[in-house]
Symmetry: C2
Subunit: 434 residues, 2 copies
């Protein structure tokens, strides 16, 4: 079979995948500890659903049956996030769910973007959301930020800075300034870090703002606050609007509550954060590596009051998403993707001779019954070669089954210490789980 | 948002997904215990790769960028199994892998088939395979059957019957009979359970076999053996061919080795098994629920000597695949999908009053730090209502945080027993893991 690598579709080596799996397991454990339940949605959504939620058309992958005369399933496309499918799932099963409904979902999503650093066309995300019927207290926004922070605390990645903002604050500010094209203004300012000041100003003016309005918007976007007090900088800009007041008050409360439970993950307000998706209506969050904030964000989320709602039912939600593939891509780029084990086995069993293989298999069986992942040597060649094979796989413990003259022994390849041991009672040191 | 259910794309309710997750975790644990390492491949493969491996064209989903003028990615399609992508993965990374390479992979796959009982268009499979450079001993075929059997032993599903056969045996038998269209003969006989005897005979004759040859093929297909001795029925048919002898000898050895380690999963030889995919070259296996063998198979696999190989490198492999979605679909159809918990939380913490919420959060934090999944009540309403909420979620233990007059207490909703307890030392009964 010929090589068929395709740009933008990451596939990791076994040692890297073990790191990815560890990250996924850690995220999942923390989500479940907080009572979030797993669900899974299909990869495909109706194209009209995908197209109506503010993604640019060209980024969507359409799916159709190969060679079908009429493109029978041409109305389907691959989802580009997990929030839109989740909202549909909740909306469809409203009568069968218990609200508030907390769920997590770890699945791939697809976007036809130009591949670049940390940005893939197929990528795995871990999302946690809570949706309810009627009203969803602001407390839940803070719960999501805290959940995100405590999850990031546990991951083997550099410290993350969570940058909070609020859509109402931004929209209220623009309205208070007298700007009419609120959505367009939001989009221009969302691109500020990429475009720089000059191009953003130009863009704002081209969308109808006066030079002065545009400059005020820019000043707002440049506000950073690592405490509630520092948020008074917004008031000092002298713009007034009820929506601005509400947004600012929400941001204050969410930030105050999140800071209470914060550990190593940093939590700040950063008023340039807007998030690209149209569906956000209040709290928004975006996380970057604190030491390299210019790298792409590795997690994000926000409040969406209307996404799952329909004419007669209100289903507001708030959620966060961790970009697992992006995280891995950035770690690989930094050279900090620590990958040593190529195999989940903790123990490797030597085969003394091919006709003694059964003895090794039996020893392995005992270890496995005790929950210790074990591999039996595939070749009964020289001990040195068998041990070398264990080393190549990154397995730390090598077992020598008993012979007529010697009891079973285990060697710790880290310390080169070898001793008599019983497979019924021996345990590996627990620096790594299987 | 309107309902957008699409036939053939299963999405489970939270209580069902928890069962699916338990099945996936059990499979994964057993694969890792045996030293199989996780990998993940992208969802898309080049169309020419997908089309060349013996799947009917119409079942493949092609993928292209929405609205792209030229269908830039029209050469891509969604994979219909995990074996073809795995073979490509190995072939591409040959220099970076340690052989024999044992991997497992749990991912969705897609086929544009007509949806029916247990047959979905999007379905999750759990595959385990071993591939090596050069020669892959028959011992590995037996290892895969044993791994499959020990995995099925652990699953909360009815007893499975693994039906073994060997492609060489079938092909050698046809050749020994003087039949020339071996591949076509194989395909007709693979459909025997669906078509019945008469139509299969007709098909065989239409593909060039004489009536007598066709009947002998049918007789072979009807042989069942639950012990090695019973396989002598093949010899008794009086057909001779070197490939037949080799296939029969392989089947005997794989069956003998697999029977040694067998537990509750049944292992038999069933000579109608051929498997649809062209890439199988030796051992083939298909598993059905022993009590309902007429239901679709829930696992399958086999040996493929050429799939990953190229002109100058031989990479033979053997693997098995468990159809997780199909299993769930059949359990749901039988009404035996046991689903009680709607949430992974083991403990539910009462909130005495909204201004005492923090006390409940702190209790939850202690439990979570000890690895106990915990949910805090979202409403500080009457105790009875809060307890009812815990019951609806299927959470067994309800905590009452301490008050000025009473220490903390925990109630077991199964026994209605309530007692004073400390969150620092209490543990739930371990009939279910989080």
């Amino acid at each position: 079979m010929k090589s068929q690598r395709i740009s933008g579709y990451p596939e990791w080596l076994p040692e890297e995948e073990l790191v990815q799996q560890q990250i996924i397991d850690t995220i999942r454990t923390n989500f479940e500890l907080h009572g979030y339940t797993p669900i899974r949605t299909r990869a495909m959504e109706p194209m009209d659903v995908l197209l109506s939620k503010g993604e640019t058309d060209k980024e969507i992958f359409a799916v159709h049956r190969h060679g079908a005369d009429v493109p029978e399933t041409a109305e389907l496309g691959l989802h580009y996030d997990l929030t839109v499918p989740f909202a549909r799932y909740v909306s469809e099963r409203r009568g069968q769910l218990v609200f508030p409904f907390r769920r997590y979902q770890i699945q791939p999503a697809w976007r036809g973007e130009r591949p670049q650093l940390g940005r893939f066309r197929e990528f795995i995300q871990a999302d946690a959301d809570v949706v309810t019927e009627g009203e969803l207290d602001l407390r839940f926004d803070a719960e999501m930020i805290s959940l995100l922070a405590s999850t990031l605390d546990r991951l083997p990645v550099p410290t993350v800075r969570l940058q909070l903002n609020n859509r109402k604050l931004l929209q209220g500010f623009y309205l208070g300034l007298g700007i009419e094209s609120v959505v367009e203004t939001l989009r221009w300012l969302d691109k500020l870090p990429k475009l720089g000041e000059d191009k953003t100003l130009e863009g704002l003016v081209s969308s109808g703002a006066s030079e002065e309005q545009a400059r005020k918007c820019l000043t707002l976007s440049q506000i950073r606050a690592s405490s509630i007090d520092e948020l008074s900088a917004v008031d000092e800009l002298g713009v007034r609007h009820p929506l601005l007041e509400q947004g600012l008050s929400e941001l204050r409360e969410v930030m105050a509550r999140s800071l209470e439970s914060a550990n190593s993950t940093e939590i700040v307000a950063a008023l340039h954060i807007a998030r690209g998706f149209d569906y956000y209506t209040g709290t928004v969050v975006e996380g970057v590596f604190a030491d390299e904030p210019e790298l792409p964000s590795i997690c994000a989320g926000g409040r969406y009051d209307e996404l799952a709602s329909s004419d007669n039912v209100r289903l507001p939600g708030v959620g966060v998403s961790i970009g697992i593939s992006r995280m891995l891509g950035l770690l690989a780029h930094q050279g900090t993707l620590q990958a040593t084990r190529r195999c989940p086995a903790q123990a490797f069993v030597i085969v003394h001779a091919e006709d003694k293989r059964e003895r090794s298999e039996e020893l392995a069986k005992v270890l496995r019954q005790r929950g210790i992942a074990t591999l039996v040597s595939d070749k009964a060649n020289a001990y040195g070669k068998q041990i070398k094979h264990a080393i190549r796989l990154g397995i730390r413990y090598v077992w020598f089954p008993e012979t007529s003259s010697k009891p079973a022994e285990v060697r710790d390849l880290d310390s080169s210490h070898q001793e008599t041991a019983s497979p019924q009672s021996w345990s590996p040191e627990t620096n790594s789980e299987s």
